[in-house]
Subunit: 369 residues, 2 copies
Amino acid sequence: MLADGVTAGRDLPPFPLSAVDGFALRARDTLEASQLSPRTLKLADGERVSRGEARRVWTGNRLPPGADAVVMLEHTEEKPGGIQVRAPLTPGENVSKRGEDVRRGEVAVGAGTRLRPHHLGLLAALEMTHVSVSAGPRVALLSTGDELVEPGVKPGPGRVVDVNRLILSRMCLELGAEPLDLGIAKDDVEEIGARIREGLEKADVVVTTGGTSVGRMDLVPAAVDQVGTPGVVVHGVAMRPGMPTALAVVSGKPVLILSGNPVAAVVGFEVFARPLLLRLLGAEGEARPTLRARISRRVPSALGRRVFLRVYAFERGGEFFAEPVRIRGAGNLSTLTRANGYVIIPENLEGLEEGAVVTVHLFDRVGRR
Amino acid sequence: MLADGVTAGRDLPPFPLSAVDGFALRARDTLEASQLSPRTLKLADGERVSRGEARRVWTGNRLPPGADAVVMLEHTEEKPGGIQVRAPLTPGENVSKRGEDVRRGEVAVGAGTRLRPHHLGLLAALEMTHVSVSAGPRVALLSTGDELVEPGVKPGPGRVVDVNRLILSRMCLELGAEPLDLGIAKDDVEEIGARIREGLEKADVVVTTGGTSVGRMDLVPAAVDQVGTPGVVVHGVAMRPGMPTALAVVSGKPVLILSGNPVAAVVGFEVFARPLLLRLLGAEGEARPTLRARISRRVPSALGRRVFLRVYAFERGGEFFAEPVRIRGAGNLSTLTRANGYVIIPENLEGLEEGAVVTVHLFDRVGRR
């Protein structure tokens, strides 16, 4: 992400270039050329093109001194010692002018641009080998729960592998943010509080998963409120999945308290953390690509809750369809791995009818069927 | 890119879980519960839920032994020493069954999947900490041209910075291919031949830029033909930009000979190298995302040539538009940096009328205006 706009220190191209394969010449020499009376030009001996001369050039070659236009190869005919031109050229014809691509003093690449290969090429052409980029915001990730074990550790009876930090750290990296690992905390307000304090010292944003519910087990919100002020600002969001999501601020830093359910954690991250991190990166406009598609079957929904429905969007016969990923439990990870996007069902609808046109927010490529 | 499909070695979830926040109970105990005659259940003392008992659970908790259903918190009423239930539950209600997400023996993630954060989470949950991924194909990149200097070197008079290897190496990395740098060769058939030979030894694919034209300066095709057989198979493609593109095979390895013009090189890479590399990666289906949009102004085109028009696609008022990037020279890098996609104008059209519906192949996010 480019931190400051880059102003071109030179013209690009730095000198006039031939825009085609052909012959560089003086336009004035062709003024009276026509089909019936073609004009014959002599091939120049040296670099310079003098009156009545032409010189072979290829696309991208510097325009030889003396020349002011280029006739395309296919519009010429070779003759002994020269070429024939059958139509007049105007000065500048088939020539890329100096500064035509980027003019000196112009902003060549704007601040907040995520640098694609093309931008790197343009910067190199402008002899900008060093530019300032935004440091990604640091995101401290904490999982909570007595039942959790680290990935790679065999879970004993009744225990489960914590996948949330792994998934969310990769989602941070994809955005250009820097994940920091706060590990797994036990279901203990003191321990959770200590880890969150550590996260607030080291990072710009803290994201926790687990230990929050709409009911009574609100360990993380309680811990955050002990760590500092104002503490929890929002607790409970009318969305599904992700109802127990809580949002907090401590010492001016955001703390996002997400559900421990991996799918709800991912959706919570998508809805709250992603826009926040993009804003910190100066890339607020960078939403997920969207696609308009028809929903392939009826989906019931809960009135009063905004539902984030995982779908597989695909093209068939020039039309786009979104198929709800049909797996019983909404908490199952395979509803994410089998999907390539999500559809938001507004809280004032009881569901979607088959064939309804929806907006799919894509996190992977559109399929074909 | 996952090389082999991953078969689940265990059920996920490994045991029944509560799918909601609420109380685990025995469905049979609620058979006669109703609004008028609610059933009161006692809170269980230990882990086990016995007849007439209930136990507090949160989403994702293991279902306590003895219980076979979960009543949602909001459907209960707290009573001294217990809870009241006002409707019967069926066995399995609000329970995520063992193996419901992924069943042991099932293919959890298919071969050729580009692993997103979600897939890594699912693999970790399945205790798969090591999987085989495809090695990216190695792509040797060579630039040719006496006028070229390395990025970072001040170009002397009449010389230009070679940006092609920089851009194409980043495009390789984005796909998951591994770029190898063959440097810059002078306009000399022997030198070019030696570098290509080196590339064929070290890499799976060789991509060159420069030293090819539709006319007479065909240094790279000549060099390739000297290196081995069958050599050049196609020379000259009816596309714009990228007419002088040549395609060759030597000792069973593809050699893609692209124009030296950076924009034509990028388009040539897009059209010929990208599908080839995706195929070598086992990800043939992974085309650029596409978008249907209306072209915002008339574009003339050359009959008989397939034109790759750079456009900026954006949304306005729920409709998508594609604006041709209006810069005079087709060879200018800023036609790429200001675009977010391209439109293919077929060779049998003389152009596009304003408002025509086109398919945009996106290489960056869609804008908004």
